[in-house]
Structures are given as C-alpha cells and as structure tokens.
Subunit: 404 residues, 2 copies
Amino acid sequence: MADAVSSLLQRGVSDIFPNNADSQQEDDNLAHRLENADQPLRIKLGIDPTGTDLHLGHSLPIRKLRAFQDLGHKAVLIIGDFTARVGDPTGKSEVRRQLTEAEVQHNIQTYLDQIKPILDFETPDRLEVRYNSEWLSKIDLAKTLELLTTMTVGQMLAKEGFAERYQQGTPVYLHEFLYPLLQGYDSVAVEADVELGGTDQKFNIAIGRDLQRHFGLRPQFGLLTPILLGTDGVQKMSKSLNNYVGLAEDAVSMYSKLEKTPDALLPEYFEHLTNLSLKDLPENPREQQKLLAHTVVSQYHSVAIANETQQSLAAMVTQGDMSQTDVIPEYSLAEVTFPAKLFYLLSASGLCSSSSDARRQIKGGAVKLDGTKITVVDQTYDQPDDLIGAVLQVGKKKFIRFIA
Amino acid sequence: MADAVSSLLQRGVSDIFPNNADSQQEDDNLAHRLENADQPLRIKLGIDPTGTDLHLGHSLPIRKLRAFQDLGHKAVLIIGDFTARVGDPTGKSEVRRQLTEAEVQHNIQTYLDQIKPILDFETPDRLEVRYNSEWLSKIDLAKTLELLTTMTVGQMLAKEGFAERYQQGTPVYLHEFLYPLLQGYDSVAVEADVELGGTDQKFNIAIGRDLQRHFGLRPQFGLLTPILLGTDGVQKMSKSLNNYVGLAEDAVSMYSKLEKTPDALLPEYFEHLTNLSLKDLPENPREQQKLLAHTVVSQYHSVAIANETQQSLAAMVTQGDMSQTDVIPEYSLAEVTFPAKLFYLLSASGLCSSSSDARRQIKGGAVKLDGTKITVVDQTYDQPDDLIGAVLQVGKKKFIRFIA
C-alpha cells in the first residue's frame, strides 16, 4: 500500500500542497491521509468544455485521476458547463470570448468521448460525474457577494497573468475575477478531499481550500501535474502551436506523430503518458519511440489497432512509399486558395489521379480525414486552419498530412 | 416653465451630466428634455438604510427630488434594502461591515419617517417607492457575470477611494467592486431618466448610464448636489464629527443648533435647506439665523412648533437662564465615569437638585433626550459617544447639551 501511494504521489507530480512529509497530521500530509483513509477519498478534477479537442497535454491530470481510482478512491469529474461559459482566465493574455450554451453542450459530449479511454467508468462507486451548473446556476447575488467578500483586489491581482495584464494596460474584466472563486466553490459543492490540476491551477485550487474553510469544511489537498511539452520538445503542447497529439486522433496520425518523438522528450513522455516501468525501457531510442507510440495508441484505440497501425506503417516504409524520416508525407496548403474543395485537395496532393477520380473515391467511402470517413462529394474547407495538422487518407495505404 | 426648469437645474446643483447646453438633443441637454417632456420623467434617488439617523446633509438630493415632483415629475425613491447589506464603498477608507437583514429592516422605517416631511407622499402619481431587493434578490450568477463583463479592473480601480486604498495596501474586497454595478442596475430596473445624488456619486451614476445602454435603454442624466458643510462651517456634515443637525431631532435641539449657524455658512444653508428667495433675506445676520432656524424647524416639525420653540427659547434667554451666545448650556462629559446612570447625569449637571429628584422626574415623564421621553429610571449609557451632541431636557424649560 505504501509503495502504491508513494508512486501515486511521485510519478508525474509537480507539487502537492500542503505537503509536510514529517507531519502525522492528516490535514497536511496527503500520504498519511491516503494510508489511513477508512473510506475512499473524493478526488476532484474539473474540466471546462471550452473547445472540442483534448490532447495528450490534457491527459496528465486525468491519468492521475485514474491512478487514484485504481487505488480505490472516488474520481469526482466536474464538467464545468457553467464555468466554461465564463472562461478560465488562467494563462490567458486577454479576456476570453464567452461561449454560448449550445457551444458548451456540444463540447461536453466530445470531451466525455475523449476521456472515456482514460478513466474507469465501469467499476461501481469509482466515478461521479457532476456538472457545475447544478450548483452554480442556483447561486443568487447574496451568495455571490459572500464569495467575493473572501478575497481582496490585491490578492486577486497577485494571480499570475492578472498583474501583468493590469500593468500593461490590457483589460482585465471583472467577471474574470469571479472565475477562480467559482472553481473554488465547486470544491465546496462536491466536498473534495483532493483537487488535481496542472501547475497553472495552483492559485485556483488554493482558493478552493480557502472557500472550503470559509464554509466550515476540511480543506482539500492540491496535487499538481506538470505542463507537458509538445512534440517539438520546445513549447508546451498546444493545438495552436500544432505540436500536439489529439486524444481523438485516428491511430495512424497518433502513431506517426509519437513515432517521431525527439529523444530528449522520451523519458518525460514515458513518465507522463504511460504506466510502463521507467527502468525497463528498451535501450535503442528508435525502439523507445515505437514502444511509446504503440502504448499510447493502445490506450486510446486498442492493442489490436496499435498492432495493425504499427504493421501497416512499417510496410509502407519498406515499400519505399515514404521517406524514413517522415513516415507520412506532408502537403503544404500555402499555395491553395480557400475555400477549397476536398476533391481538389485529393487531386492536387497526388492522392488521387484527378478530380474526377477523387470524387469517385469520396463517393466510394475510401476517403478519411483524421480517421473520419467523408462521403460528401462537395465537402469544402473555409480556411487552412481547418486542415493544418490533419491527415488525409485514401484507401489503406495513401496518406498525407497538411501543413501550413 | 423655462424659469422653473432653470431654477430646478441651478439652485443647489453642483453638476449635471451630460450637459451640453447648446444641444437640441434630448439625450444630452436635460433642460431641453424637461421642457419638451410629454410625460413625467422618472427621477431616481437611491438611499441605503445603513444607519438610523439622517441629517440635513442627506436632505439635499431629497429636497431636489421634491423639486422635481413639484414640477410634475415622478420621484422614484429606491430603498436599498439589498445594497445596504453590501455597503457603498464610496468615500470609505476601509471595507464596511455588512449589515444583517434585521438591522436593515429596522433602519428602513426610521428612514422613511425622516424623509416624510421632505417628499410629496400625497399627490397621486408623484412618488414610487421601490425596494431594490425586488430585483437584486432575483439576480442569478449568469446575470451577475453579465454585469461584471461590462467593466474592467482598471476602470473600477480608477474610482476615487479604491485607487488610494489599493496603493496604500488597505484591502479592497471584491464585493466592493460589485456595489457600483448594483446601484447602476437599479437604474436599469426602474428605467430612470435622471438620477440624483451627492457629488461623490458621479462614478456610480455614470455606471448606471453604461448599464442602461448595455441593456438597450436610454441612458439617464446625472444631477449632483453638493456635499453640505457641517454646523462648524469647516468639515462636511457628519454624525461622527458632531457637526450635524439630524432630521429627526426635536425642535428645540434643531432650532438651537441652526440659530448658531456661522455667518459665512448662512448663504449656503439658505440655498440648500430652504426654498426662500435668496434676494429677500433680512440684512442682519442674527435675523438670518433665526429665519433659517424657524424655516427648517417648520419643515421638519410644523410652523406652530417652530413658533413655539422660537418663543420659548427667546423667553429663556430673556429670563437669563442661559447666556446669549449659547442658547442651550453645554455640559462636558470629560469628568463623568462611564457607564453612567441618567439620574446621576441629571443631578450632576444641575438639571435636577439631587439623584432622588432626578429619579422622580424620570418616573414622572418629565425627562427627554433629544426629544424622546425616557421613563426607565435605571437608564444607563455605556460611553460618552452615546450622548455627545444630544440635548437633555427636564420639563419645558430646562436644557443642557452634552459635549465631550
């Protein structure tokens, strides 16, 4: 038990607070609390459905949540359907656009689909999915005022990001000040014992502790996971930087991206994206890349699909269809005029011999974009951003990846 | 009509905004709007029942509201039963204590009683009394967030008082940022055409304009009245500075304070506290003092009581019971040990011949403090502040005023 707890609290963990390792107090020593818990702890993770795509960078706290489940604790997954409409200002250099209710509802299902492969949705009593509109939509002005009385402007402006924006004259809107308090109030509502989040969530999670104390509850622990670097090994993983691997990506795209993981990034990716023992990895970096790609594809698709993908990509390479360094050839959209028809792209990129061949292939169901079959012959894309990073496929063996 | 409007917008007015006198646009020329109104305008004045006592300084915007009524417009008096619990941070050097609902309910009636002599409560359709809990208690979090999105932290910190406190490190609590928006939202709720307030209310009234615009309404005008100097002629009238005349003070106390109005202060007091023509005042300052005192007492009590008070105080003076400069003798509390019994004070101050005489007078109903009969023989005061400035009276002719 102690070994499992120790691994839980060390692998892929940036920070735990409070964290007084010498203390025998269950209120400031999480290891002690876990080892002595006579009932499952409630482990909170909040996710705001602000977009449609999650990537491996988002998976770290979700994977940690799964690890708590595996030790018998209860995952309390909070879908921030209310807070998504406000927008977490953390790490933002300007105010976020507020989402409509329809956008949020659309995002929720895509998020749950993407999270499914990581969490244990099956074992009874290991998962509680809650929507924070359940309590936040009922908050009246008096309660809001009570939340606001707990903090000063100075404390809020001390939050990373706010101070910089305020000093630079970039507007910080008043509703952004409310966000951390709402996230904190979620911890009150679900009576969280531990809250998970990226390192950028420390401020918000600490507010949860304050509010729990304010409302007479025992304050939660914060457990922070690192911010994952992107596949470029330089900047944090991000869709806008196009250095990401999406959780919903098709197996081929996912495998081929991870198979190119820079050597320096391999230890980190193994630690954070797999459960493999870090001592027993193959010595050859090329073997490590394949193992990493296979393991991750196995998680998000299946072992069978990972095997098949590995084999078919290897076959392409030996057939000489693609260079060895770039498993999937890239196709630049720089010269393409938008809006662009799919059949034109198929023809221009050489995946089909002509536009009419391309139309036939679409009709015949042989064309996929990021693994999704496209059968609309007139399918049109408005702008390069709709395609950059995506893999276009005809039949089983012809692929290109769009680049800018 | 034009003359009446001109007097309305000039006498006792510090600022009107917007105020483009040359404009023929009804949206930025209040005189033009008033002269061309085909229905009564809605004139808003908000009062938070945060205490029990109003004084003449508070009466300026209320008197201006009455002037609008007299020209046929509708006074919309907003009792801030909700906002009183938040507390207007305007002019405060630190966060205000939040009031309980019971305290607020108690204050409302005392406020209405004090306002009654000023406003026209009788003429049909000239007065609408609203409580802002009517709409504010129904505001949910989504609406609160909408209000908050309309302003930035920078705009809010530009408010007089906030910036100083923030820079000096005196806490500004987040709920204080909400106050101006709630006051502004009142203007939305009642669809105010004009909002009245002291000059310190300019920021809050301007937010009302912004919010009305945000919610698709025509923005109100702001009409600001000056901050009245206290009877010392030096600092603004304030209960804590003991340079005030309370609206609920008994006639003797009110008359005797105003009869001592410093010469330099007389023109201001006549302008703001009476409707007398400023051109037709008596030349002799002593006569002006008596006229002022008589006029104000007539408003808050009655002409008959003003006459009687003037006569009885004059009689005391001629009987030589009091010096001519101090109509009511002062009694210093510096040597008194607190808590202090009322009967001791009656005896020590010479109003009664002994403590037992004092007890008899109390029992007999002859003792009043600031006009309120006191019949509790053991009545005790905890501290000098409970008495300083108050007038203690035995029978009809014996008075003292407590000083520090």
